[in-house]
Symmetry: C2
DNA sequence: TGTACATCAGTGAACGCGCGTTCACTGATGTAC
DNA sequence: TGTACATCAGTGAACGCGCGTTCACTGATGTAC
């Protein structure tokens, strides 16, 4: 169990952790398999006992990210229940919280260039994450008059896109630089205005 | 002027074009200075007559991207005038159109990891792009009752974020894979609902 | 409890590769006389 | 118009580097007897 000795104990886990830390520090480009191995206190060749190669290691980081992501979203959804509105808003906020709290996972998932279709396993778990948001949208959908009700998948896509855009442009230091407003505020007001547009929040509040 | 002969004619331009094509084909990671040189029919060392190095070449691609981007946004804005609403919607659509039509520039600007603060020149032109969107927002702002008027910079950020999120998740093949709706439709309906939430579109249309 | 042995996680050396960058050079171009 | 010359864009060879990956190996571990 302990790390000392010839055998590592849990190298697989240590490698994923090292990879996540590296991705977080250096960006997707800066990640090197050899360096992840070094950080785990192991020769580069040892990595191949646990992963097929560099890409496979990143994919595993992304997979774990989607697992956490789905849990976080599901939890937020449940917290908001039985109010469809509260559930919907909470999942939006959870997106931002996830990006903040698990930046390595976030980058592996969305910025590393790893396709979600790389593995059936990865595709499945990503679909599950999407499903949580769509379920929240479906719940909301029932409160909109049928004749002006957009497909739930559409407005779950809207909220996802808004959340993703806020994260990319204003929550990570990348190109947006100094954001005009705190990302949390930006996302909250944005979702608020959007939901009012759907007729789900009264115009006066 | 012609390409034949010892001297290239316009190597600088050819290098930027090669870089853009490569970035578009291989992603930001796949871009190699040596290969851009090869495509321009030139030795890697020749690049250093025109650029300080690899990063500088990417930064120049991004700079040209911002220049085009600003023009495109400005043009869309002007087309929508004198209607503030039409101008606002048009700039949103222009964002998507830009990403579609100039993918290499788009990637250099937003996905290459090049900071907008790398050069004062680059920062300046990016600020100009932001200013176009904010001006559109200011125009719109006048139609909102002052007491419930969010800062123009805030809702220009919302539209930017929504546009960016739609592009990243649904218009590029990256992680979102098969999008549930055409990105154009997604963005248009999203902005429509958002503007209705601001009270800028009548609830019945 | 003690010994023999199979397993297999991790070693260490080596590889080929393409990369970004440098340097002294060369030869095409355009200008001055 | 013709010659001498300065300029400087592009050459080609070389570099050191870190990368991902391979391979035969070794030695710690746990199991069978």
């Amino acid at each position: 169990m302990a790390k000392r000795g010839y055998h590592h104990g849990n190298l697989r886990k240590a490698l994923v952790e090292a990879a996540l830390a590296l991705i977080e520090e250096r960006g997707p480009t800066g990640f090197a398999l050899s360096e992840a191995a070094k950080r785990a206190g192991v020769t580069p060749a040892a990595v191949y006992r646990h992963f097929a190669g560099r890409e496979d290691l990143i994919a595993e980081a992304a997979r774990q990210g989607y697992a956490i992501f789905t849990d976080v979203m599901q939890y937020a959804f449940d917290q908001g229940q039985p109010s469809a509105l509260a559930s919907f808003e909470a999942t939006g906020r959870a997106y931002l919280a996830f990006a903040r709290r698990y930046p390595g996972h976030y980058i592996a998932m969305f910025e590393s260039g790893i396709s979600v279709n790389r593995t059936p396993e990865l595709a499945a778990i990503a679909a599950r994450a999407r499903a949580v948001l769509e379920r929240a949208a479906e719940g909301l959908s029932r409160h909109i008059p049928p004749e002006k009700r957009p497909p739930p998948a559409m407005f779950s896509a809207h909220v996802w896109a808004l959340s993703h855009g806020v994260v990319e442009l204003f929550a990570r230091n990348s190109p947006g630089t100094q954001s005009p407003f705190p990302p949390e505020e930006l996302l909250e007001t944005g979702i608020g205005i959007y939901l009012r547009g759907l007729g789900l929040i009264a115009p006066d509040e």
